[in-house]
Symmetry: C2
Subunit: 357 residues, 2 copies
């Protein structure tokens, strides 16, 4: 198979490295698209999208640009020309899901996106395989490696948010503008994508309850530690009640999820007949994510069955939560409350909220 890679950053370069290794001689990287003015360190690098779209010998494109545009246009134009698409772009998938899935269907091409959620964990593939045989009743887990690193360090070292964030940036785990991670948007995009795959339908992103960790302080963490609890930023999908939630959650310090270290991800899938399955693995980094992209390329090469996805709409409705919450409001100290409803959770004066497990 002949492929083109859009973007030559962390993931794009990782894909190139793995594909040009010795195991995958049946994949040829014909072109790499880089921004105008980028260094042309390889002869196959081009800054002209038309070089790729007009080359009928390229059957598959790998989109590792990130962001909405030009990724969306490139992916759509590629599918329109009959090319398969592999993408790691959760923002693109979460916001243009129906458009992309419908177009892939119409054109009979592959649209695969293992790398968009869970880094090196084969999360999407397992959701697809399980749903062919079983009913997925839910998943729950840590799917943002940057925030897990920050929360892990804050908890271990009793340091403040900004200090842990700087450390994460120094290690290359956090971007220069980490807002999408901190405010939970990154987790929201991934939760939508994974819930869509788990349900085979299309969840509306608009009204999902989403909370981040922006106003979390070391005083909050000290309070959690006193109570034997550990905070993690959690993606939750409840397929039975059609409920999606992005929220910091508190776990007993002796549970597996509370002990997920550093930049790791952890996901638990629950199914009707198979029971519970959990996965832990590196959630960020060049090679784990690139590995997931390459697994998708291998699936296309092997003509694996396409996932059975639809764009049938599902809208989330929240019942009142009977759980215990930790809530910190403007001008107040954080404290536990029992039960909250959607309206209370959407209140403007909440600085930080976490559900207790």
């Amino acid at each position: 198979m002949k492929i083109a890679i859009f973007g030559y950053g962390i993931v794009g370069k990782g894909v190139y490295d793995i594909v040009t290794g010795n195991k995958l001689s049946y994949i040829e990287v014909a072109k790499i698209l880089r921004r105008k003015g980028s260094e042309k360190s390889l002869p196959i690098i081009t800054d002209d999208f038309n070089d790729i779209i007009n080359d009928d010998s390229i059957d598959t494109v790998v989109e590792c640009l990130g962001g909405l545009e030009p990724a969306r246009t490139y992916v759509i134009e590629s599918m329109k020309r009959g090319k398969n698409v592999v993408t790691s772009n959760k923002l693109l998938l979460a916001t243009c899901y129906d458009e992309l899935i419908d177009l892939a269907h119409e054109k009979g091409v592959y649209l695969l996106f293992e790398a968009s959620v869970g880094g090196g964990i084969p999360f999407i593939e397992n959701l697809i395989s399980i749903s062919r045989v079983d009913e997925i009743t839910g998943f729950k887990g840590i799917i943002n490696a940057t925030i897990n690193y920050i929360l892990y360090r804050m908890t271990k070292e009793s340091i403040d948010f900004d200090v842990a964030l700087k450390e994460a940036q120094g290690k290359g785990y956090a971007e220069a503008d980490p807002s999408s991670d901190i405010d939970g948007d990154d987790v929201l995009y991934k939760t939508i994508v994974a819930s869509n795959v788990a349900s085979g339908k299309s969840y509306s992103i608009d009204n999902i309850l989403k909370f981040g960790v922006r106003n979390l302080t070391k005083e909050d963490i000290a309070f959690f530690t006193e109570n034997g609890l550990v905070v993690k930023l959690i993606a939750e999908y409840d397929g039975i009640n059609k409920m999606l939630l992005v929220m910091p959650e508190l776990f007993d310090k002796y549970t597996a999820i509370a002990n997920v270290p550093l930049n790791n991800n952890y996901i638990e899938i629950t199914c009707k007949t198979e029971g519970r399955l959990s996965f832990e693995g590196q959630g960020a980094g060049r090679y784990p994510t690139a590995h997931s992209v390459v697994q998708d390329l291998v699936r296309i090469h092997q003509k694996s069955a396409k996932p059975e996805l639809t764009t049938d709409k599902v809208v989330v409705c929240y019942k009142d939560f009977t759980d215990k919450f930790y809530v910190k409001r403007k001008g107040e100290k954080g404290h536990f409350v029992n039960g909250m409803n959607e309206k209370e959770l959407r209140s403007d004066d909440i600085l930080f909220v976490a559900k207790v497990n």
Copy 2:
């Protein structure tokens, strides 16, 4: 696709239940083979193997008999007649690996065995996918649910081995004759099968170091607990040093592996570029294992690529172990020693030995 199921016990009945559910209408169970004299609770039940082997419309057989014979003969005869085979039989695979793999190759049929190792965990499938792209450098984990249940209960409740074993038998987790579990043979078979898949080669089973938990007492457990350690029966594969080991191992009580509860399995895979990946899930029980069998049926239906396995021989050679061990010899109290070699480990007077992590 039209299938026959050999055996209608825990797994066979589970496969029948899942396949006749509402998701898999493309799989038809044409025949079920039961022992002569068994109840004919369904019209498709037969006690004559010839009814199946001579039916050319049956393209795939599912072997859930367990044991070596007649499973081996039935599987071989089926492949010779061009039928695909799905099996959960680790003893058969471990002892007849080369014969079965070579025959499947020769006949161009599928021979899939996800359910033979790790119950509901997609362990074999992940080894196959990862090895297509990456080099698997090793795996390590808990792959015997019966023993994990016994060790978990002994550690939690300070009860003796026999009491925990009776409890496991009462819950249906342990067989009437649990020797294969207790002496590590079950783990050995699974370790061989998984190592063969991970390496794409065929490890000789003959000289693998294998230790069980037969002589473990509550006094040993109390000693481990005093030292902050938890004992687990472990399968270990080191692909770099070509080393396989089946041995009780001791882990710090705050690690994920030390906290794997009840009848669960836990496996960690290490790879060259992808890093570490771990899986936890139910290791025994009708539906988790049957689910894995059905996943293999779906792979055949979808004409998934066959795993690239060979029977190139690999023989294990043990270097001296520099690890710390807990050793209990005849007439002695258990104690820690530093470093052991193969000869020392094979000494007849060892009642119980465990490697410290």
